[in-house]
Symmetry: C2
Subunit: 465 residues, 2 copies
């Protein structure tokens, strides 16, 4: 069986059961059922609870074996000691994917007992050909299958898109995603998976699976610690070139080993070793939640520039200075324009601003056509590989010229990254349009530059420079 | 005359004129008048334009001398060559504050002519006792006087608050402020000043003035380059201890010198020298727009902890790991709890999570009273100086316990910093309440930690540790 087949019952189930379903507002079993309902999961949902005939309006069953139809995926929310028995029920029922929300395995203080119990469930699952997400996870979401198999119903509202997020921590997903929603982000996710303790599904398995997933363009990872880092690196080397991978690895300080061990049962390990190994394996490092997403977005929709020569332009000058600073101090080059192109630019903008690279368009800000003309000249220049296009917001400025930028990027096939000085929702439709055509948009010049740096790091990983 | 009196006509004018007012939608002269109208400036607004009897519904005058009443502040939007003459008109009319929006001074390519013209206007202004904001600026806002003396009407919507922002770039203000508005930030600004070329008002003058301004609790600065860095440092040393100061200085790369020279007429200068000088002068360094604001907010409403021993707690585990990592790798210490306090905590939460510092409250998340009890024990502990209180969002969790946190901070008088995993607007009123009582709130655990680091740096600047 190939890997796509192996993971199909997990990510594309035809029917889902929630073992430990409940109506109690203080039990995760309630929210797992609610998540499936809210995500408009198209197949049958079977709440399993021996004491309730219905749960949230759905018919409930005393146990898995009482369910009339077939079940592909079971979401399990029961005390840790009951899990082995439930896994036997799953095996008998032909369930091939389970999400084990329950904690109390290798992450606990009594580490010996925890490891033993986790080993037992892994063994049972492996015998029965069952893939486990977890234990000790918030669950997972596959937007493209309308499947919120997590304990968090609001994640059912997640936007469909090209980014797969693998996280050792559910909490991180619960910080990142609402923050993106608030920012007015228009790029969405294919799959969001809380790997938790990784009883028999590891980062390595997931990146191998996702490398073949047509709905995923990029793999983003939040990593605390790994039991077998070598396996991840070896798999990543195989995936390199097929799909970009970005990782935010915690563990710069020693204290994290202990916290991470208690959280998802793995030592964080030596940070420097991870950084070097990531680089070799073609995984791009990010250093914060925000950078993880910003770089992932750029890599999900755009290919790296063919070189490291960047131009920065802006109708307001501050971002020109910040952008130039960030690019140059991180190994990009604000190259000189070729003499002919510089002459053309000089004919368009007055000498009272900087017209070499970076280009300050303050005095032509009212006339977006001049700005677009300058952008065209820059992109035509053989000395330039990518453009950071800052745009300002002012009551009197014309709206963001999305169609024209898309056209330029299609003609010149060089990355354009846009920074806008305005809340994203104000230009929502234009941002949807730009991002659908490979032009990522960020709210500040710094984040636009970080994203371009991410593209260049991927170009380096591919050996392009 | 003391400095408060000198700057009064600028920041608290009784009447304002706009010289170069216009109705043309492509002229800044229109938006300067609109900004004054939109900010509900209570005194008379006099548009000056020799060709229009009215502008935006206001009676216009051919020149300053035709204005019937007194004028304290003139906003000037005319070509650079006309400015000396207008300054003479201002002197004759008794105007004591001017904002010169116009560019074309020491920042231009023909540097000799630019410097000469700027020297001339500085001389004229000094002779007449006129303070100049600019030239080459977007203007300034004093929220507490309902004064938007800038070319950007939407800045009239700026929230009143304790932060003064001094910026060499208007563009930076135009990126930072909409972004904060979008994030649902509830802390506002006292004054936002685009210093531009600083003809006769420098950063040093402004921090001296603001150190006495009762509406300002903190001074935030965006700096490109300074002509006389020594003067800023000497003034800052005097202000140190009175009001915290935070600066984001660009110029890590060499290219910035050129860009900054063309932008506001100053070399960016050696970055390392600035960093060291800032530290000596008690100015806290920030490294991005976001950090500039995040640290400024914490320092505007909270005093530094008495030591560097920090505790991190969270009802979801990921932020515990990230928070511990950032704190420990930046010189803070996640100290051990005293044995008695650790015993008390162990009685409240189960052994399946980390209960030393950091504290993972995953299994008590439904019951916010347990979390608050743990927070109380932590704050009582003599080993701990500050608490990072992460809160999660889940459909089933109780709302953020703002009143209880405020009470704890008042009893124990130790800084509490809150990170919430939810869009800020959802808990808007609770955030207003917390921030009004000295508890800053951030959307991610990373930003909460950075803010605490800023508090500690200020404690260091004050020689507390």
């Amino acid at each position: 069986m190939n890997i796509a087949e192996e993971f199909k019952p997990l990510f594309y189930p035809e029917a889902v059961a929630v073992v430990g379903a409940s109506e109690d507002q203080q039990k995760y079993g309630r929210y797992c059922v609610q998540g499936l309902i809210d995500s408009k999961f198209p197949g049958p949902i079977y709440p399993i609870n021996p004491r309730s005939p219905t749960i949230l309006g759905l018919q409930a069953y005393p146990s898995l074996k009482d369910v009339p139809g077939k079940v592909d995926l079971a979401v399990i929310v029961l005390p840790n000691s009951l899990i082995p028995e439930v896994l036997l029920d799953c095996a008998n029922k032909g369930v091939r994917g389970v999400v084990i929300i329950s904690a109390g395995f290798k992450e606990i203080d009594d580490r010996k007992a925890g490891i033993e119990l986790e080993g037992r469930i892994a063994h049972l699952a492996n015998e029965a050909g069952i893939k486990i997400i977890g234990p000790n996870t918030f669950g997972m979401i596959n937007t493209h299958a309308n499947l919120d198999a997590s304990f968090t119903p609001y994640l059912a509202r997640l936007r469909k898109g090209p980014i797969a997020l693998l996280s050792q921590s559910g909490g991180i997903c619960h910080f990142l995603i609402p923050w993106l929603m608030n920012e007015g982000e228009t790029i969405g996710f294919s799959k969001v998976v809380g790997l938790g303790n990784r009883a028999n599904v590891e980062f390595a398995d997931m990146i191998e699976y996702l490398s073949q997933d047509t709905e995923t363009e990029l793999i983003a990872m939040y990593i605390e610690g790994l039991d077998n880092p070598r396996r991840l690196m070896e798999t990543a080397k195989k995936v390199k070139g097929k799909k970009p991978m970005v990782a935010y690895k915690v563990g710069r300080s020693k204290i994290v080993d202990q916290a991470s061990l208690s959280h998802t049962g793995s030592l964080a390990g030596r940070y420097e070793l991870y950084s070097a190994a990531f680089r070799q394996a073609g995984i791009i490092s990010a250093y914060s939640l925000m950078e993880l997403f910003d770089v992932s977005k750029a890599l999900a929709i755009q290919t790296p520039p063919r070189g490291k020569n960047v131009a920065v332009a802006s109708p307001i000058a501050g971002p020109v200075v910040i952008g130039a600073d960030i690019c140059e101090s991180n190994g990009l080059k604000l190259a000189k324009f070729s003499p002919e192109r510089q002459d053309e630019i000089n004919r368009l903008i007055p000498p009272i601003v900087i017209r070499t690279n970076p280009v300050d368009l303050t005095y032509t800000a009212w006339d977006v056509n001049v700005y677009l003309e300058v952008a065209k000249i820059i992109l035509e220049d053989k000395n330039i590989d990518a453009l950071i296009f800052n745009y300002g917001y002012h009551d009197g400025y014309p709206p963001l010229p999305s169609k024209e930028l898309i056209k330029l990027s299609q003609i010149y096939r060089k990355p354009i990254i846009v920074a806008i000085g305005v809340p994203m929702p104000i230009w929502g439709e234009k941002i949807v349009e730009l991002q659908a055509h490979g032009i990522p948009v960020y709210p500040t010049p710094e984040r636009a530059c970080q994203a371009l740096l991410g593209l260049v790091k991927y170009g380096e990983a591919l050996g392009w420079y």
